[in-house]
Symmetry: C2
Subunit: 459 residues, 2 copies
Amino acid sequence: MRDLEISNQELSDIAEEALGLAKSYWASLEGRRAYPSTTSENTTELFSRPWLENGRGREILQDFKSIAEHARPGTGRFFGYVVGSGEPIGALGELLAAVLNQNVTSWRSAPAATSIERAVVGWLAEAVGCAGFTGSLCGGGSMANLMALAMAREAKLPANETGVQPCVVYASEQVHMSIPKAVALLGIGRKNLRLIPVDDKFKMRTDALQAAITADREAGNVPIAIVATVGTIVSGAIDPLPEIADVARREALWMHVDGAYGGMAALAVPEKFQGLSFADSLSLDAHKWLYQPLDCGCLLNRHPDIARTTFSHSDDYVRILSEDPTEAFAFFEESIELSRRFRALKLWMSLQFHGRGAYREAIRRDLDHAQILAQTIALHPELERLAPVSLSAVCFRHRSKDNEAILRRVIARGRVYLSNATINGQFVLRACFVNHRTTPDDVRAIVSEIIAAAEELNC
Amino acid sequence: MRDLEISNQELSDIAEEALGLAKSYWASLEGRRAYPSTTSENTTELFSRPWLENGRGREILQDFKSIAEHARPGTGRFFGYVVGSGEPIGALGELLAAVLNQNVTSWRSAPAATSIERAVVGWLAEAVGCAGFTGSLCGGGSMANLMALAMAREAKLPANETGVQPCVVYASEQVHMSIPKAVALLGIGRKNLRLIPVDDKFKMRTDALQAAITADREAGNVPIAIVATVGTIVSGAIDPLPEIADVARREALWMHVDGAYGGMAALAVPEKFQGLSFADSLSLDAHKWLYQPLDCGCLLNRHPDIARTTFSHSDDYVRILSEDPTEAFAFFEESIELSRRFRALKLWMSLQFHGRGAYREAIRRDLDHAQILAQTIALHPELERLAPVSLSAVCFRHRSKDNEAILRRVIARGRVYLSNATINGQFVLRACFVNHRTTPDDVRAIVSEIIAAAEELNC
């Protein structure tokens, strides 16, 4: 039986071997299939295993190769969902964060890490034109949206002490599934989420929003919040923030902006994001369009007092002895988590390593790639685009073939990976560019692969 | 301006430098102070910095030294809160997880990672005597407890569609702050959390629990769930699970067990955890008493159908095309998060590397260390213990001195770190052992440091 302690020499050797695996993997990326050739039988056979009494020692590193072979690789030819590309300096940041193993509950528990997280949150706020917003990092958009709506509820119709009272939340019918999920978790009930119709560009119709609020007030219902989306998950539409902010102000509602997919693009194209700073709260995902390894969500807000009212339920065992406001600062009084890992270190390293300009350019290239794809589709008579390209998501279909069958073949061919969505009840193909490794050739491969797959269907 | 792409050679060089920092840090651990000598002025000066337009490149690695100097180190002499020791093989697992950058939403998005997570969740369940439970990894106890109570609510008084109805949750007055926080978030209202008195061992009094439920029913209130705690945060008390399970069964209530601190000790001392498998849901934290780097919480449960009812709000854009049950599996339909990092890889590597026996022994040593401390306290006339030592937390005080002043001095001396808690309104010192690096000498240093600090107060 092995002790948990290992010698520095043994650890050093294993660490070098692990790093060698990482380096080989990075070097192999471009040669990999865009999606692994695997089945549930493969992964069950490889990875169903008991936890044995005796340690297997260093041989466990040998699993890495088969894990990588049955994993989605971060190649420049993966265009499914909204999946960032895992910038390697960020990955080294994750190593160092795990080595330091800070519990970033509060300054008292993690002085440097807390100061660094507060700094990088400020960078993100400033990068998207929301300087002065505060907030914290979290697991992702689902958590950020949940926290935002919890704050909205507590600001408008306090529920923490006595329980939820009936209230209503508004979002467009293109809203991300994490919003109905948050509304349900918070006890508001999904039937109290009004899904507002969108215009032909998939943006929320402000007239319909206003009408819904008015109708609710006339029925005696209590509106509390509007969720605007910057970068809807299907087509990347950006809701009209200034008009929504006007409604929110007039109606005294909380305005949350879900920018999990698109928000970081305000760094590159701020003109598309006018009105973002009117938000009361804003979700961002650095593991999407800031290319960081998972996980790295962020909730920014303009109301730290309401954050504390919403999330502060502290016990004496975490009572902080300091009078200094920085030293008394606790993330757990302004967010859901208590134990929190040092997510900020990868941002600290990766963002400074490359500089803001490099990130701005990478986002611009993703936007260009979407335009290249749209142009290629326009030139092909068998293909049609089904939504405007507002950011970097492109939705399209083959006019005459079974698109679901095409998608299966494209994925099986392994050169590019797309995912699917539904527009006006129709199954559509969807490519999304949030990947610093993608080249224009990778983009052009999308249409040629679709056409090749469609031709295979004829055979 | 730098591009985000870096050459394999440059990346290799930087990665070696980062690993060198990690190795030096590990080798330096035992020589470090148990808590850094730092102030808010230090960390503000060091870590307030703008995100510059141009990249700083490799020089950002030079920050690591000052970050480590202003961070809580994972030495064997840190006994504050419940902080695991960051097992290094687990940290290497975090590197490889960040390199692979899987988004473990579902098998479709991450085949190997999904199979591995399902395997390690099974290991944890089996290790604590709950074979057959399913579940998922999450950020920590706060998230696991929130998910558990969301499931309880949905199982007993469905709220997702129409909103919360008045209902009541029961827990002991020693319950962790994440439970009132979850009750508030779920819209139940903290006034509907009944804090049941404890006995002289800080265990929930089942007679009082039953009386409270009966009184609520007579008043027309609707009980839905009981939260038992295995390892209360202050003293490590284990609530009487078989008796609580009897009440839950008789009253048809959900029984959640918060084992974030203590649950994993069932691997080493199962006799203390009789009745754990009666739980409907169980929170565990592998980043606490399984020594893993943050974050690695887990919610186990016996009701995957209720998990799906509670958390499934899926959109077409994540619609899974497979009919195979493994390939159609999606974590986001059974938990809160959508984007999810590959938390399971560190468990896969670290747990197999060392083997189950090594973990069992490490937990036993922690239990022994608590007994050693209790014995040392008993031998010292100026010290008194204030709670039984049920697991590995020891609460005590100096009989005649200002214990808050002693604690400040102990921390400033830097040899050991303790935290504080409140017992019967009294400020107490608290040491908790969940650290594979701790030696008996480290344990003995606690009392000598307390006495030395107390003597300094006389000067």
